[in-house]
Structures are given as C-alpha cells and as structure tokens.
C-alpha cells in the first residue's frame, strides 16, 4: 500500500514538472525550450560581458587589463565576486556540518581498523600517489580563475589524498593542525570580506587590482579567496574522514 502511494506521488510530481516544461509561452515568459535560451533576458548577459558597472568594451583573453572581475573563468567570477555571499554561506554549511560530525562522532582515541589487509605494494604506491593528489588539488584551486574547478573540487581532491593514506595505513590519524587550519582559513575569508567593507565600502568587495585577463596573477581577490577556500575544504573533509574512522567518542 505504501509503495503504491509512493509511486503515485512520484509520478504526480513528474507530470507536474513535465507540464511546466512544455508550457506554451506565447504572450508571457515561460521556461525556454532546451537550448533556446536568450541570454540577453537574463542577468548572465552582464556577467559574461563583465559590464555590470556599464563598461561596454569587449573582453579579450590575454589583452584586456583592469576588467571588472578580471577572471577568465566566468563561473568563478560569479561564485567568488558577483555572488560571493553565497560562497561564504556554502563554506559555512560545510563548516557547520564538519563541526556537527565532530560533535556527534569525534573524539575517539582509537581507530577503526580495516577488515582487509593491504599489501605492501599498495602501501608504498599510495605514499607516492597521495602527495601527487595533494599537489593536484592545490593546482586546481590556485588556477580557479583560469580553468574549471576552483576551491571546492581542489579541496576535495586534497582530502581524497588524505583518504588514500587513511585507507591503506591502520595507524593513520589526522594531523593536529587541521582544526586550526580550518578555523583560521574561515576567519580569513570573513576578514577579507570585512577588509572589503572597510576599504571599499561593501562587504566582500574586490579591493585588489584585477590585472590582465588570463594571467595567473589577475582577478584581484579571487585567487586568494579560492586558495583560502581550497585549504579550508581540504582540512574540513579530512577532519570528517578522521571523525568517521575514530572509535569510541562521546556515548551520548
């Protein structure tokens, strides 16, 4: 009975969305058909042209200097500059989740051992690969304004390096400094915002020069913020992994 009801509700939901996708938009704006979006009707037109402050010049890769956000990756310019408050909120979500996991599970001295015994080949190889993963993570978030990726995937890959080390070695625990790194990086992000408030008048405003579009040292505070976020996310996810493998902890 419950299953039939669930199927009915799921199907109802599906059909409701299908009708809105097919709605006729003759005299009013409906959802455009897949692929037929007119970007000029959306706010994104100004994000692409980097003309929110009414700058009408064309942006050329490697040539234009002092553009609005200066970042070649437009998604990054939205995430870290135009809608930076959302990213601060996102960082906070991850932070509070990691804190919650720590409160519920953490604090155990012993570690949960793995059931399978790992061969020495894997152990040695992972000690070589894990640092490579960490460097890859660092590369991704440092180049967040030039290539796809940014702080969050970069931090996640760094945590994957840590996870690899944890998976092959039964004695591995997190480094002591991870919590400090996480908290300090979060504090740094809020301080960058407050610095923007005190220097330029709005919270999280870009107060560094934006350089030439496409170079490594460009885009003002964007690489700084993404590095901060990358380190924070890496430390946070490693902390979550560490909490999950710890045994004992608070029996509440």
């Amino acid at each position: 009975m419950k299953r039939i009801l669930s199927v009915i509700i799921a199907l109802l939901f599906f059909f409701m969305i299908v009708t809105v996708l097919n709605s006729d938009s003759s005299d009013s704006m409906g959802i455009p058909r897949y692929g037929e979006v007119k970007l000029s009707e959306r706010v994104s037109a100004k994000y692409i042209e980097k003309s929110v402050n009414e700058n009408q010049d064309e942006i050329r890769f490697g040539v234009t200097a002092d553009a609005e956000t200066g970042s070649a990756n437009m998604v990054t310019s939205i995430v870290v500059n135009y809608r930076s408050f959302d990213t601060l909120g996102e960082v906070t979500v991850l932070f509070i989740s990691a804190t919650g996991v720590g409160l519920l599970l953490g604090g155990g001295r012993k570690r949960i051992g793995s059931v399978i015994s790992v061969s020495p080949v894997v152990k040695t190889a992972s000690r070589v690969i894990a640092p490579m993963l960490m460097v890859l993570g660092i590369y991704i978030f440092v180049h967040g304004h030039l290539t796809p990726g940014g702080g969050f995937p970069g931090g996640a890959i760094m945590a994957a390096g840590f996870l690899l080390l944890v998976a092959v070695d039964d004695e591995k625990r997190a480094y002591k400094g991870l919590k400090i790194l996480e908290g300090t990086m979060g504090l740094l992000y809020v301080f960058i915002g407050i610095a923007g408030l005190l220097i330029s008048g709005s919270f999280l405003e870009n107060f560094l020069p934006t350089g030439v579009v496409g170079e490594l040292f460009s885009a003002g505070i964007i690489p700084v913020v993404y590095s901060v976020i990358g380190l924070k996310v890496g430390a946070e996810l490693s902390g979550i992994v560490d909490d999950f493998i710890s045994e004992g902890g608070d029996e509440i």
Binding site: M74, I78, G89
Partner: protein
C-alpha cells in the same frame, strides 16, 4: 530530453524517500533526488552552440556565444550543501545505530529505549 531524465531521477528519489525503511537507503534516495535537481538546474542554462563559459586562447573574446554561467554557480553551491547534509545524516545514523542497535525507521519511531 535531459530535463526529463533529471526529473525522472528526482521522481525516483522521491519514491525512495517515501517507501524505504532503512536509514541508509533514505540517504541514498535523497542523494539521487539532489543529483536530479542539480542536473535540471544546469540544463536550464544550456545555449545551443554555446561554448563553456571560460575565456581561453580558443574562445578568446566575450562576444562569442557562451552557455549561461549562473546555473553552474548555483549548482556548485548546491552540491557542496548536499555533501554537508549527507555527512551529518550519516553521522546521525552511526550515533543512532550505536545506541539503539537498529537502522530501520519503523522500529525507531515506535519508541523503544536505548540499548544497554
């Protein structure tokens, strides 16, 4: 087409959420539904023939046709939020299973006491 597939994913996730009893399966259904919603949001921004919204030596000026970058930014945030909620939910499951000994939601709701 992809919009219909993503909605089917969401519908499948909703079905799982409504009918499953195992706590871990509930989390999996939630994740499936979240993936469906994220896919749908990205598909809202597709422009036929548009390039990926990154200025590079290939697509090197901003007057070319680009895909809408805003939904991608929204999805970035949404994925991370999903990760956070999943981590918290899993740790709650571990905590509950340690003290109650079961991860079946019908057994938990009928109130029982703590194990030992």
């Amino acid at each position: 087409m992809i919009q219909y597939f993503s909605m089917m994913l969401v519908a499948a996730g909703l079905y799982g959420l409504l009918s499953q009893k195992n706590l871990v399966k509930l989390i999996i259904s939630l994740n499936i539904a979240e993936i469906g919603v994220n896919l749908f949001i990205v598909s809202i921004g597709y422009v036929e023939g548009g390039a990926a919204p990154i200025l590079s030596s290939v697509s090197n000026n901003s007057s070319l046709l680009f895909v809408d970058p805003l939904p991608q930014a929204l999805v970035l945030t949404s994925i991370v939020i999903g990760v956070g909620v999943t981590a918290l939910a899993l740790s709650l499951i571990v905590s509950v299973s340690k003290s109650r000994g079961t991860i079946d939601i019908s057994e938990l709701s009928s109130g029982g006491g703590d194990r030992e």
